[in-house]
């Protein structure tokens, strides 16, 4: 039931290394608001529940979960927040990814977040009602904890920015929101048994990962068991007392932290080591078919006397469709073959690798799911002809999972989530293009397959009622009388049913353990594998030989194995009869629909910064910037005020201020505003000279994202510009109208210090004209192309070629020089109305981990990378002058995932690219690679 959550979260860990570059100026991918949501607000006793109209029913259920969680947490924390808590719901993860409450991209693994600035809790519904409940409570633990700790610290008048480490914050949220679950158990035992369980002292090393969440949870479970549940709250209440969290643990538990850590490790080993008495690792019992990356959803395809596994894999940061040949007789591994490269264009924007999103028909058609535009689609791909045959998209179905062909390949059944958030079963007939909805309720119905002897369906659902309420059991939909009947009713979760070639039904289940393969035998269920960690999916080569996708050593791989485990574990399929029972989650009681009101923009401060600088040369100057936005983050206002006066008499004429409004609500984003900038400006046309300029006017910008990877930008401004060139002797007045249009593309994949794969470019055309005095009149052209050629997983060759042209009367100049473009040269070294730049850089890993252990503290640096580079460029106004450049090597360090430090050594290429400088240049700078 919660497989997806675990697996998705695991991907976060993976994407930390190869994260997608978030939107930023000049390049960057696009966060697209495909849907125009009609937001409503329900006001409950403690929450403001924001949801859109279609999601009303599940929002009311979520509201009840929130109020119930509140009742529980107020006792656990012995505290309540005194403010109302805004809870924002989305019906799917795809809609959640459109939220403007956070500016960055939301990876697939994020199941919700609590945002400190406005105290917002933002949560998507992922199909499972119990999962929805857990995520709501998890985020509310954050709200309560933040508020509690703030109160503890302010009560004692100590700095209120002192928070526990992340493992405690997330561990507590897990511990106080989740019951025991299979995935968590599996990761813990895998970590202990495979030696990657991180000791207490190294928890910071895995900050932000799924493993950290789970280790934090296990550590707090251990504290509660060993020292008492009340100690958890005491840890928060004692936070004021010591500067370090280790000291707080020692004081609260009255035990040396080293002893606590050892006891914890001992408990875990004592619990998990005996598992090897009865269970086996995949690697021991099976042949591992894939080595690197992550691989999922194995499907067997027989073609021309060969056996292939078609699967979804991620070897290099892009999730794609692969095939690999099976050769059972050889110990050598076959090379995987790429079939469809995903996540580089809008057709295959993202694979949901861990959601069971692939099936292969006997006739050689592969059905796989990707996000494409606003919703998921099913692609039908011919394995024989190596081409996409068709794309199935459904306007009302947002996310799609687990496609499965009928025996004749003419129908596909799948599960999908509609606008109401209902996860239901559908059947699509390829020959008639007819879509039929099979179920229509709030229960999570997944993994449907056609029954082998007819048109009926078998699927997994949490509609189990009665004694095992909410468990994911096997059900049969009888197409003749449209009834749904239990095939199993056990106290366990079941998923991924498959028929063997001989027509027997198999599935995975976590009965009494983690997920293993079981066989359905009418009245009985037999356990057929006994692995120590979970099997996630499988496909049959023949009646006894299968390919599994399994989790082991914190990664997912394909294994070839046999289902010959013989055990006494045979259980009844139906352990509780409840044919007429139904369960339905409670909803918040609304006295009338008047308690559901339309959302209106309610603005509050996002941040405000001010600065005053006193400089012995330039005197005192200062300013402020603050922004306001509405609760959903769709509408923002930016105010900027700064004074650049160097002498008191200049104060009044040196005010710089602007007011902008940015609207992100729709697909097309726009911004407009007014500005007034004035003060002394450095004239890059003639070095060492300044002029006074006063510019005031307005602007209007439009951004239209074509897809996640490309967009069109338009910018228009009108500005009055008055320049005093030499005192008040020479003045230049102008009324400038400037228009520009750009096309931007970016599908790059990032490593720790910069892009590693893909390409990005921008083409801009612009025209600026003085419509009143004709003093200024020029056009602009920019073409900037960057290509990143992946040489292997961790090395790449980066290429850049850029041309910048302004041509006409009083055209603005470009300049280059310095760490961003022409390394080794000073800033402004070359300047001109026309400029070109070219760079080539070989990027490679240098040091993976570098730790300095002082007697009192240890400092670790990770992902130190090396680079060999060469730059070249030139700039001119009317007549080309010279080409300069540089060659060299450097190291780059991503410091705490927040800033990249770069240090380069090299030689400048001088004299129109004819000679190298005599010595070396040394350059330190910060910022990501180009």
């Amino acid at each position: 039931m919660k497989k997806g959550i675990l697996l998705k979260t695991t991907i976060i860990f993976f994407t930390i290394v190869f994260s997608i570059n978030a939107q930023f100026y000049f390049f960057g991918r696009n966060k697209i608001q495909y849907n125009d949501f009609n937001w409503k607000v329900i006001k409950t006793e403690h929450f403001d529940i924001y949801h859109y109209e279609e999601f009303s029913e599940l929002a009311e259920i979520g509201a009840k979960f929130a109020e119930d969680s509140y009742e529980d947490l107020k006792i656990k924390f012995n505290h309540v927040p005194v403010i109302r808590i805004p809870l924002i719901f989305y019906n799917t993860h795809l809609h959640f990814q459109q939220t403007n409450t956070t500016p960055g991209f939301i990876p697939e693994g994020v199941g919700g977040f609590f945002e400190f600035m406005k105290g917002r809790v933002v949560i998507p519904f992922l199909g499972s009602i119990p999962g929805f409940k857990n995520v709501i409570k998890h985020e509310l633990v954050h709200v309560f904890m933040t508020n509690k700790i703030y109160n503890v610290l302010s009560d004692h008048r100590v700095a209120t920015n002192k928070f526990p480490p992340l493992w405690f914050i997330e561990g507590l949220a897990e511990y106080w929101s989740s019951d025991w679950d299979t995935q968590s158990e599996m990761v813990k035992r895998d970590a202990v048994l495979n030696g990657y369980f991180v000791s207490y002292n190294d928890l910071d090393r895995i900050a932000g990962t799924y493993l950290m969440y789970k280790e934090g949870e296990v550590f707090l479970q251990f504290i509660a068991k060993e020292y008492g549940e009340d100690k958890i709250l005491k840890l928060m209440e004692n936070l004021w007392k010591f500067p370090k969290f280790d000291q707080i643990i020692e004081f609260t538990l009255d035990e040396d932290i080293g002893i606590v850590a050892k006891k914890w490790e001992f408990e875990l080993k004592k619990k998990y080591y005996p598992l090897y008495e009865t269970k086996v690792p995949h690697l021991i019992k099976s042949k591992k078919l894939t080595q690197n990356g992550f691989t999922f959803s194995p499907n067997i395809f027989f073609y021309e006397n060969e056996t292939y596994v078609i699967y979804i894999g991620n070897y290099n940061g892009y999730t794609s469709l692969y095939k690999i040949k099976i050769n059972s007789d050889s110990k050598e591994l076959e090379e995987p073959e790429l079939l469809i490269k995903g996540e580089i264009d809008s057709r295959f924007e993202s694979f949901h690798a861990m959601d069971n999103s692939l099936d292969v028909s006997k006739g050689g058609l592969a059905a796989f799911v990707t996000k494409s535009g606003k919703n998921d689609v099913i692609h039908i791909y011919s394995l024989i002809d190596d081409e996409i045959i068709t794309k199935l998209e459904f306007d009302k179905l947002i996310t799609i999972k687990s496609p499965s062909f009928s025996e004749d390949g003419n129908k596909i059944t799948f599960s999908a989530v509609d606008e109401k958030g209902y996860p239901d079963i559908y059947v699509y007939e390829l020959s008639t293009n007819r879509l039929e909805r099979i179920t229509n309720d709030i229960y999570e119905d997944i993994d449907p397959i056609f029954k082998i002897d007819g048109n009926s369906l078998i699927f997994c659902s949490d509609r189990t009622a009665g004694k095992f309420k909410g468990k994911m059991n096997l059900f049969e939909f009888d197409a003749l009388d449209n009834t749904i009947n239990y095939l199993t009713n056990i106290d366990a979760n079941i998923s991924t049913p498959h028929y063997s070639p001989s027509g027997e039904l198999y599935f995975t289940s976590d009965y009494n353990d983690i997920y293993n393969i079981w066989k359905y035998d009418g009245d009985k269920l037999q356990k057929k594998t006994n692995f120590v960690t979970s099997v996630y999916d499988f496909g049959f080569i023949d009646s006894t030989k299968i390919i599994t996708a399994a989790f082991e050593s914190f990664t997912f791989h394909l294994y070839e194995t046999e289902i010959n485990y013989k055990s006494d574990e045979e259980i009844n399929s139906i352990q509780y009869s409840s044919t007429n029972e139904r369960w339905y989650p409670a909803k918040i009681k609304l006295e009338s629909q008047n308690e559901r009101i339309n959302y209106k923009n309610d603005y509050s401060l996002d941040y405000a910064v001010s600065q005053i600088i006193t400089d012995p040369i330039y005197g005192t100057r200062g300013g402020a910037l603050f922004t306001l936005s509405d609760l959903l983050g769709n509408d923002k206002y930016l105010f900027y005020l700064y004074n650049t006066a160097e002498v008191q008499s200049d104060i009044l004429k040196s005010f710089n201020l602007s007011l902008s409004k940015i609207n992100l609500k729709g697909r097309t984003n726009y911004a407009f505003g007014v500005f007034n900038y004035s003060g002394r400006r450095y004239d890059i046309r003639e070095s060492d000279s300044y002029y006074y300029e006063k510019v005031y006017g307005g602007f209007f910008d439009l951004i239209f994202p074509i897809s996640v990877f490309s967009r069109v930008e338009m910018s228009n401004s009108i500005a009055n510009s008055d320049k005093d060139l030499i005192g008040d002797i020479i003045t230049r007045k102008s009324l400038l109208i400037s228009n520009a249009i750009s096309y931007v593309h970016d599908n790059t994949l990032w490593g720790p210090t910069g892009p590693m794969d893909g390409n990005r470019y921008r083409v801009l055309l612009g025209y600026t004209s003085d419509v009143r005095y004709s003093n200024v009149n020029f056009y602009s052209f920019i073409a900037d192309y960057r290509h990143y050629l992946r040489l292997d997983t961790r090395t790449s060759l980066a290429l850049r070629g850029s041309v910048y042209i302004n041509h006409g009367k009083e055209a603005r100049r470009y300049f280059a020089g310095g760490s961003w473009d022409l390394r080794g040269w000073p800033r402004f070294k070359i300047r001109g109305e026309k400029l070109w730049l070219s760079s080539m850089e070989y990027r490679f890993p240098l040091i993976d981990q570098f730790v300095i252990k002082f007697p009192f503290i240890g400092i670790g640096f990770f992902n130190i990378r090396g680079a060999l580079f060469m730059d070249a460029g030139g700039a001119w106004d009317n007549e080309y002058k010279e080409t300069i450049g540089s060659i060299g090597a450097g190291i780059r360090l991503n410091f705490l995932n927040s800033i990249v430090f770069r240090y380069d050594i090299g030689k400048k290429i001088e004299n129109n690219f004819n000679s190298l400088q005599p010595g070396l240049f040394y350059q330190f700078f910060f910022g990501v690679d180009f």
Partner: protein, 375 residues
Amino acid sequence: MKRISSILLLLFLVGCSKPLILKRITFNDTQADKTRNYINNYYFDIALKDSFVFKKEISIKGNLDINPFFFYDSYLFFGDLAGKFYIVDIESNTLIGDNQFNGSINVPPILSNYRLFIPLNNYDENYATLYFYDILNNKVLIETKIDGNIDFSIMKYKENIIVINNRGLVYRINLAGGLESKHKLISELRSEPILLNDIIYYIGFDRNLYSFSLIENKAKIELEINDLQKIFSFNKELILVKNNSYAIVKDDNISDPEFMPVPLNNIQSGVSDTNRLYFVDYSGNAICIDKVKGTVQWETKLSGFTNLPLVLTDDYLLVTNSIGEIYFINKEDGKEYTRIKVEERIKTAPQIYDNKIYFGVAKGLIKVYEKANNK
């Protein structure tokens, strides 16, 4: 000019600290002991019979813990969580002395023979300190170090000060500051200790009932039931509270309590007078139960989160919630008589003394209300 500035500066600096000197106080140890409450039962045997109006606000440095106040004569003694100790003249409600310590003061002091015993949880140290403060001469006489924190009320027992720390150690310290004895309890405390008939009762971390005899210096488990939530006492009675039931026991029948149901989900606090018991849960549901019959006399639903102790007078039950309200409930019929409403979060149980109500609120403030007809 320089001389004047220096004098002004000196006056300013002197004005910043107010010595803890009480030369005018007339001290009587017996009287001081009477004002203390070691039974965790916030019952004030006085009739209020009136509504209250705001009198004064006293600004302090930190916020206060649940039960910080000690009143004696015409003075209020207390320390805040930022480690500052104060003496307030309650006739004028003005601050007459204060002293900043490095840590946090969680529980009220004890006053005995012109000496203040101030318990401080030290910042960045594994110990707490019990200061013996001479209030006639404004000086610390003795500092006694206590392992861990002092989170529970210190008690005067005969000629000793009894301190129980957060690690389950009982310190018996004589009035000269000497350690008389130190004993380990069977379990750490999760409730305020109750001193009844020379025996300290408390709930342990495993939610069983424990005791420690101050005569025999002997720790004992009284009741193994694993689900006790609260205890408090009235006269010779000990009231044991679970999530939704209670039992009244005396020292001769502790081992066999009869728990009576209470129609509340999670009892947060209870208080007792001669004939009745009053309980409130975290959601502000208050209930009154006849002690003899065990029947419900009345129930009432109040708003807000309630995690502060119930306070009882001869006429009202005072219920305090997190949203800044103190309800005055008529204890005969459960109807609201009046309420005090403040803007800030209330941090302490309201304390009644000299016809005034004192309570601490967030942002480092103590609010003082007095009877309306006093005006």
